[in-house]
C-alpha cells in the first residue's frame, strides 16, 4: 500500500500553521449592544415585530403567526435529554447586530469584523471558498459569491435578503421538507426565524469549491434561529459548509435552526457542518434533505460542545436510485448530553443509505445514538447500512444506542453494527513510552478511533476537526 506523502505533509503543515495562530478558544465574547432587540419573551407581538422590522411580505408574516400557534400548542419533548433548563421567558428571540448587510469585509463594523477575523473566516473564504455568508446573532452581516458563479446563475445570500429578492423561489421551497408542524423547535423557528442562507444552484452547474456560512452567537441568553435552504437543481453539484460557535455564559442560550436541502434528479449535494457551541447552548436544529431520482446526498457533521444537542439529519429518498450517506462525529465533554443520530427514509426502489456515527464521551459526558431507518413497501431492493461506534474516555463517561427500524419491504436489506471502546492505561502507557505526552497519546487514540470517517471527509474539514478535538481533549487534564 502506498502512502500519500503529499497528504501527510500537507496535514502536518496545516496543523503547525493552525497551532501558531493560537486561536485556542472560541469562548470569548464581544461587548456589543445589538442595534435592535425584541427584548425577552415570546408572544404574538414579538413575532409581528420581527416580521415588521424585516419588512416581510404578508405570506411570510402569516406563516410566522401560524407557526407560533403550533409552537405554543406543542409540549416540550420529554423522550430525550432534560430540556427543563430552557428559560423560554428570559430568552431574547431577536437581536440585530447592525443595520447593514454588506458584501465587503471592510464595510463590516469593526468589532464584528474582528470577531470573524479571530475565527479565521475572511482568510478561509479567500483560500478555499466559492462564496461565504457570515451571520452574527440574528442577522447575516456579510455575504459574497465569486463572480464566476454569480454569472452562472448561482444564488447565495442570507435568507432574509432572498425573501426580498427572490420571493417566488423562496416560497416554492420554504418549509416544504421541514414543515413547521414537524416538532416544537421547528415551529419555534417558523415563528421567529432570522438569517440562515439561501443557496440555489441552477441545472447542470457544478461548483468545485465549497460555499460556507458561519454562525456566531454573541449575546447571553439569546436565541439564534436561522433557516437555511439549499437547492441543487438537476444535474448540479454543490458542497455547502456551516460553522458555528458561541461564547460561554452563565445563562443558557438556545439555537434552533431549520436546514432544508433539495437534491434534484442526478444532482449531488454535500452538507458539512462543524458545530462548536459553548457549554451554555441548547442546540436543537431540524435538518432534512429531499433526495430525488439518481441524486446523492451526503451529510458530514462534527458536533463538539453545547450543553444539550438533539440532532438527527434526515434523508428522504424520494426517487429511484437516490442515495444518502451520513457521517457524524459527536463529542460529549463534561456536562454535555449529545442526543444525535440520523434518519433515512426509503420511499423509492433501489435507494440506498449509509450511516456512520462515532461518538466520544469525556468525563460525565453522555452520547446517545438515536436513529430511524424506514423502508416503505414498494421501495424494492433498497439497502441500508448503519454503524455506530462509541469511545469512552473516563469511567463515568456513558454512551447509549437507540436504533429504530421500520421495514415494510421484504426485498430490502439492512445491517446494523455497534461497538463500544474505552481508552485504557495500557494503550496510553505504550504510546507514552515512545515519547508522546498523555494528551497526544489520548488524542491520537481518539483520532485513530475516528480514522475511517476522517478518511472520507474533505481535508480542510478533517484538519479542523483534528484541531478542535485536540483542543477539546487538552481541556481535560488527566485522561484514562
Amino acid at each position: 500500500m502506498e502512502i500519500d506523502y503529499r497528504k501527510d505533509e500537507e496535514l502536518e503543515k496545516l496543523l503547525k500553521e493552525l497551532k501558531e495562530i493560537k486561536q485556542n478558544d472560541y469562548e470569548f465574547h464581544d461587548n456589543l449592544k445589538p442595534v435592535y432587540t425584541t427584548g425577552t419573551g415570546l408572544n404574538r407581538s414579538t413575532v409581528e415585530e420581527i416580521s415588521e422590522i424585516k419588512k416581510e411580505p404578508e405570506w411570510m408574516r402569516r406563516l410566522r403567526l401560524k407557526a407560533l400557534e403550533i409552537f405554543q400548542s406543542k409540549p416540550v419533548p420529554t423522550w430525550g435529554p432534560d430540556l427543563s433548563g430552557i428559560d423560554w421567558e428570559n430568552t431574547s428571540y431577536y437581536n440585530r447586530p447592525d443595520e447593514r448587510r454588506v458584501n465587503d469585509w471592510n464595510e463590516v463594523p469593526d468589532q464584528i469584523k474582528q470577531t470573524f477575523q479571530k475565527l479565521g473566516i475572511p482568510e478561509i473564504e479567500q483560500k478555499y471558498l466559492a462564496g461565504s455568508v457570515a451571520q452574527y446573532d440574528s442577522e447575516g452581516v456579510y455575504h459574497n459569491l465569486k463572480k464566476v458563479w454569480e454569472d452562472k446563475g448561482v444564488v447565495f445570500m442570507d435568507l432574509d435578503s432572498a425573501v426580498q429578492k427572490y420571493p417566488d423561489l423562496v416560497k416554492e421551497y420554504y418549509c416544504k421538507a421541514v414543515p413547521v408542524t414537524d416538532n416544537k423547535f421547528a415551529a419555534l423557528n417558523g415563528a421567529v426565524w432570522s438569517g440562515g442562507s439561501f443557496l440555489y444552484v441552477p441545472k447542470g452547474v457544478q461548483i468545485d469549491m465549497p460555499l460556507q456560512t458561519y454562525f456566531r452567537m454573541n449575546g447571553e441568553a439569546t436565541g439564534q434561529f436561522e433557516h437555511t435552504i439549499v437547492i441543487a437543481d438537476e444535474g448540479s453539484k454543490v458542497h455547502y459548509i456551516e460553522g458555528c460557535t458561541a461564547p460561554r455564559y452563565d445563562r443558557d442560550s438556545l439555537h434552533s435552526a431549520i436546514v432544508e436541502i433539495y437534491v434534484k434528479k442526478n444532482a449531488k449535494a454535500r452538507y458539512t457542518s462543524v458545530q462548536n457551541w459553548s457549554k451554555s447552548v441548547y442546540n436543537m436544529p431540524t435538518k432534512r434533505a429531499w433526495v430525488d431520482e439518481h441524486a446523492q446526498m451526503e451529510w458530514v457533521g462534527g458536533s463538539l460542545g453545547s450543553k444539550v444537542t438533539m440532532l438527527y439529519p434526515s434523508s428522504y429518498l424520494r426517487g429511484a436510485y437516490a442515495t444518502a450517506s451520513n457521517l457524524n462525529i459527536a463529542l460529549a465533554g463534561a456536562g454535555t448530553y449529545k442526543d444525535t443520530g440520523a434518519k433515512a427514509l426509503h420511499f423509492a426502489p433501489y435507494t440506498s443509505s449509509r450511516i456512520v456515527a462515532k461518538s466520544i464521551s469525556i468525563e460525565d459526558g453522555k452520547a446517545v445514538y438515536r436513529g430511524l431507518l424506514r423502508v416503505n413497501k414498494g421501495a424494492i431492493n433498497s439497502k441500508s447500512k448503519v454503524q455506530c461506534d462509541a469511545l469512552l474516555i473516563n469511567d463515568e463517561s456513558s454512551s447509549f444506542t437507540y436504533p429504530h427500524d421500520e421495514i415494510y419491504e421484504p426485498t430490502a436489506t439492512f445491517s446494523h453494527e455497534a461497538s463500544v471502546g474505552k481508552i485504557g492505561t495500557e494503550e496510553l502507557t505504550y504510546l507514552r513510552s515512545r515519547g508522546l505526552s498523555e494528551d497526544e497519546a489520548s488524542s491520537m487514540i481518539v483520532l485513530g478511533f475516528l480514522d475511517d470517517v476522517m478518511r472520507e471527509i474533505p481535508m480542510e474539514f478533517a484538519v479542523e476537526m483534528n484541531r478542535l478535538i485536540k483542543l477539546e481533549m487538552s481541556k481535560y487534564g488527566a485522561v484514562g
Binding site: 502512502i3 506523502y5 501527510d8 502536518e12 502507557t429 504510546l431 507514552r432 513510552s433 515512545r434 515519547g435
Partner: protein, 246 residues
C-alpha cells in the same frame, strides 16, 4: 556515552513489594542479560524503569547520565533515551503505524528535521530488515499482529527512535528460529559503543546470537548473582535450583 544507573531501588504494585533493593549499572557499549525464574520481578523492573503508572517506586533512584527519572513521566524517560521493548505490546486500534512512528520520532528528536519522504524511506528499509511487510505501515499499531510481528515491530521502533539505553523484555519469545536470527541481526547492527542493552530472557538461545558481557540473576525482586555468560549456560542446563541452593 550513556549510562543507566539503578541504585537501591524499591518498587511496588498496590501493597505488594516487587523490587527489593535492586542496583544495576548499564553503560553504553555494554550488553547485560537479566535472567531469573517466573515471578522474579524481571518484567516489573522493565515497567518500573519506563514509569508505568501502575508501579510505585518507594525509594531508590534510576538515572540516565545523572538525570533522575524517578517521578518523571514515561514520555520524559523516552526523551532521555530510554526504550523498553514490551513483552506483550498492546494493540492500539486506529492509530496507524506511520503516524505513530512519525509522531514519536518528532517527540524524541525534536531538533532533527527529516522530510516525510526520507523518514518513510528509512522506515521501509528497516521494515524489510526486521521482516515486516511494507503494507504494515498503513495498519493500526499491533492490531491483528501475530506475536512474532509484534516483536519485530518493537525492534523496528527501537531502530527508528534510536534510544541510548535499551531494555528488551523477552524479545525472543514467540519468534521462530529464523525470525530470531533476523531480529538478532538488527539488534547487533544497532549495537554500538553509544548504546547500552539490558536483555531480559528465559533462554540462552538469544544470548548465543547476542553475547552479553554480564549476566544477572534476579529472584524475589533482588539481584542474587552476577557474572559472565557462563551463568546463562548453566541455567539452561540445570535451571535455577543451584542458585537457590547457593
Amino acid at each position: 556515552m550513556s549510562v543507566l544507573e539503578i541504585k537501591n531501588l524499591y518498587a511496588r504494585v498496590e501493597d505488594k513489594e516487587l523490587i527489593n533493593d535492586l542496583s544495576l549499572t548499564v553503560r553504553g557499549g555494554e550488553i547485560h542479560a537479566l535472567m531469573g525464574p517466573n515471578g522474579a520481578g524481571k518484567s516489573t523492573l522493565g515497567y518500573v524503569l519506563m514509569g508505568h503508572p501502575n508501579y510505585t517506586v518507594t525509594s531508590g533512584s534510576i538515572r540516565i547520565d545523572g538525570k533522575e527519572l524517578v517521578g518523571t513521566t514515561p514520555e520524559e524517560r523516552a526523551k532521555n533515551g530510554l526504550f523498553l521493548a514490551f513483552q506483550n505490546p498492546v494493540a492500539v486500534q486506529g492509530v496507524k503505524l506511520s503516524t505513530f512512528l512519525r509522531t514519536a520520532y518528532n517527540q524524541v528528536h525534536p531538533n532533527e528535521k527529516m522530510s516525510i519522504q526520507d523518514f518513510y524511506d528509512r522506515v521501509k528499509l528497516h521494515m524489510k530488515r526486521v521482516g515486516l511487510e511494507e503494507s504494515f505501515i498503513s495498519r493500526s499499531v499491533n492490531d491483528g499482529f501475530s506475536g512474532g510481528e509484534r516483536k519485530r515491530f518493537e525492534i523496528l521502533q527501537m531502530i527508528i527512535l534510536r534510544p541510548k539505553i535499551v531494555v528488551l523484555d523477552e524479545i525472543d519469545s514467540g519468534l521462530d528460529v529464523d525470525a530470531l536470527k533476523m531480529v538478532s541481526e538488527e539488534i547487533k547492527e544497532y549495537y554500538s559503543q553509544d548504546v547500552g542493552f539490558l536483555i531480559i530472557t528465559h533462554y540462552q538461545r538469544i544470548l548465543k546470537n547476542i553475547e552479553p558481557q554480564f549476566v544477572h540473576v534476579m529472584m524475589n525482586g533482588k539481584m542474587i548473582m552476577e557474572g559472565s555468560n557462563d551463568i546463562s549456560l548453566k541455567i539452561e542446563e540445570q535451571g535455577y535450583d543451584w542458585i537457590r541452593g547457593a
